[in-house]
């Protein structure tokens, strides 16, 4: 685990507070999408297929901040689109840091070096760089040659300036465990704080439908990749979520754990499924038919999903729901053995 103690403390005290107040459903990470525009068109992405007038639009900083305040989650992830293309990204980050939110700015890093001067290093700000594997694998995943090298330049520049940098990796069928292990070595050698992993989700709008992982294949891939994990590998996520991906833990989805806000409103029910929008966060929480989602619901869209936005919140909640959950998390964190 590579999450700094102050961040762990913030998350832990937030979750415990929710539990003590008897709140059954609470958000952990707000997925804030200020725009859908991107400078890449990755085959596995279902986020950018919109008409031109939608791709040109973006939220205002005021709309973003209102959503952050309304939601109350301690962590704000800014995906997109490419957030570094958002014209007010610097102002948005300043506002969020002022609110002591832990911000994960999810970027492909093509513009990172060029835009670094807009930001100041802070424990609240992390550049989470999209890296789907070694050079050839990543460039293939993002459908453009040279992006891996550009991202490495961005990562190095951000690290030199003292920023927190992590990587986020989406794995598709056909990923090689051996190559991924080499990739982990390479990223840690670059000096990133930690890595985040997730299996891909089969967006119905994504062009590539053939390479998404099914559950048993996910377990197999993550087991092969993470068994006998090296101590130098740091993961910036719940170790129990990684164990879940390896098939060592059974969790149910927490679709409200990572609520999503974008120019259309509050997305129902989760970051991945797009079944409608609520005008307010309260409306989202109170009127979404949560029982229709997750594996137990029998919803076939949820059947093979093991993505972080549904299950990492479950893993974190599990940690703080029982002595057993807490002990398991501590044991994995201390021993480093997944």
């Amino acid at each position: 685990m590579s999450v700094p103690v102050s961040q762990m403390y913030t998350v832990a005290s937030y979750v415990i507070k929710q539990k003590l107040s008897g709140r059954k459903r609470y958000p952990l990470v707000l997925m804030l999408e200020p725009l859908f525009r991107c400078n890449l068109a990755c085959a596995g992405c279902g986020k950018i297929q919109y008409p031109a007038q939608i791709l040109k639009k973006h939220l205002t900083v005021e709309q973003c901040v209102r959503a952050v305040d309304e939601c109350g989650a301690p962590i704000v992830s800014i995906p997109g689109g490419e957030p570094l293309m958002y014209p007010d990204i610097d102002k948005l980050v300043i506002e969020l840091v002022k609110r002591k939110k832990y911000v994960y700015l999810c970027t492909n890093a093509i513009l990172l070096k060029e835009k670094l001067h807009l930001f100041s290093p802070s424990k609240y700000l992390t550049f989470s760089v999209h890296m789907d594997g070694l050079r050839e694998d990543h460039d293939e995943a993002v459908c453009r040659d040279g992006v891996f090298d550009e991202a490495v330049v961005g990562i190095k520049a951000a690290l030199e300036r003292g920023f927190r940098v992590t990587t986020n990796t989406t794995l598709f069928d056909g990923a090689s465990p051996l190559r991924m292990r080499q990739f982990f070595d390479e990223m840690m050698n670059l000096g990133v704080e930690g890595m985040m992993l997730s299996p891909g989700y089969s967006y119905s709008k994504a062009p590539d439908q053939e390479h998404f992982l099914r559950q048993t294949r996910t377990n197999q891939l993550f087991s092969e990749m993470l068994s006998r994990n090296k101590r130098q590998w740091k993961f910036n996520q719940s170790p129990l979520f990684l164990r879940f991906l390896m098939g060592k833990q059974d969790f149910e989805c927490t679709p409200w754990g990572n609520p999503t806000f974008n120019m259309f409103g509050w997305q129902r029910p989760c970051y991945l499924l797009q079944e409608g929008y609520a005008a307010t966060f309260q409306e989202l929480m109170e009127t979404t038919r949560w029982e229709n989602y997750g594996k137990k619901s029998g919803n076939e869209k949820c059947r093979d999903c093991m993505v972080h936005c549904g299950y990492e919140a479950t893993a974190v909640d599990y940690t703080f729901s029982s002595v057993k959950g807490f002990a398991e998390t501590v044991a994995v964190t201390l021993t480093g053995k997944l």
């Binding site: 068109a41 085959a43 596995g44 279902g46 297929q49 919109y50 008409p51 007038q53 939608i54 040109k56 639009k57 293939e140 459908c143 709008k205 062009p207 590539d208 053939e210 390479h211 259309f264 409103g265 409608g276 929008y277």
Partner: protein, 122 residues
């Protein structure tokens, strides 16, 4: 499979609610034809059929909005804009990569032939 170009007729076989669902799922602009014959072109991003007054929400083709239009005002929805989710870019990417590899392979083969005169070369 894309609905691009579809102009549905609302009748006993195709309900307005079904067409609204298709429009909501469509990643392109549509033309909403109202009962009075007027039209609005835009991207339908939401609908609520459970509301006391069911409605759709859209941004028009200039990006203005959102505009709410009650179901009762809609005659039909035409799928007039390009379906931005249609196509198969992964396949195109893989094919292009394969072609590039083949070309690189052929070029290096030709280079070898050119630089190596062989045992009987001049």
């Amino acid at each position: 499979m894309t609905l691009e170009g579809w102009i549905p007729q609302i009748n006993e076989y195709t309900s307005l609610q079904e067409v609204v669902e298709f429009a909501f799922d469509y990643r392109g602009n549509t033309t909403v034809v109202k009962g009075d014959g007027s039209e609005i072109v835009g991207y339908v991003f939401n609908r609520n059929s459970d509301a006391p007054e069911p409605f759709i929400q859209l941004f028009d083709e200039r990006g203005d909005g959102p505009f709410n239009i009650p179901y009762r005002d809609i005659a039909t929805i035409k799928f007039t804009g390009k379906d931005t989710a249609a196509g198969n870019s992964w396949k195109a990417w893989v094919e292009r990569k394969e072609k590039e590899k083949a070309l690189r392979g052929a070029a290096s083969g030709a280079d070898r032939l050119g630089s190596d005169p062989g045992p009987h070369g001049s």
